[in-house]
Symmetry: C2
Subunit: 103 residues, 2 copies
């Protein structure tokens, strides 16, 4: 599954779609706006992101609503945690961010 995640994120268009979903859930048509690709292309990208556990879907009548799937984020976080030791300069920044979250 880690493999699916990184393969999914390797494509810039898919990262853009994912980033857009992170600003708020929406359906495929709304997701397509300003992307400059065909509807099937969006549908295929969605299938890849979904297969990687990065996004999830919820049927809403004729529409399908897509949103970021926390399980994917969690998987990336687990992978990244293995290398955080190489990132000493930012530990303080992160600590500060977590501190701010308490308020």
């Amino acid at each position: 599954m880690e493999d699916d995640i990184f393969k999914a994120l390797a494509d810039p268009t898919r990262r853009a779609l994912f980033a857009k979903l992170a600003t708020g859930a929406r359906n495929a048509t709304a997701l397509r706006e300003g992307m400059g690709i065909s509807q099937p292309a969006v549908s295929q990208h969605i299938a890849v992101l979904r297969g990687a556990g990065l996004i999830r879907e919820e049927r809403a009548g004729r529409f399908v609503n897509y949103s970021v799937d926390p399980r994917g984020i969690e998987a990336i976080g687990r992978w990244f945690a293995r290398y955080r030791a190489f990132w000493p300069d930012r530990i303080d920044d992160l600590r500060k961010l977590l501190g701010e979250m308490d308020q």
Copy 2:
């Protein structure tokens, strides 16, 4: 550069090489051990990882020593930070980890 990073990490062999380097710097020959691919393949993978800023090299006579480049880790961290909000369950774990680091 974000694009180079994700493209580099999309390949499982490259992730394996990167993970191996994260356990300690080593030269290309040592890095190749147990990978089941040719020497040129390793060399090509190294070039991709290096181009993405994920690893760095240091000439040591006839050998070249490769190690994890913190700049790459930092770039991933910056990208990941944008989505950490979707990962609420793990914030406490992370906070605990950072707390342990103080000791």
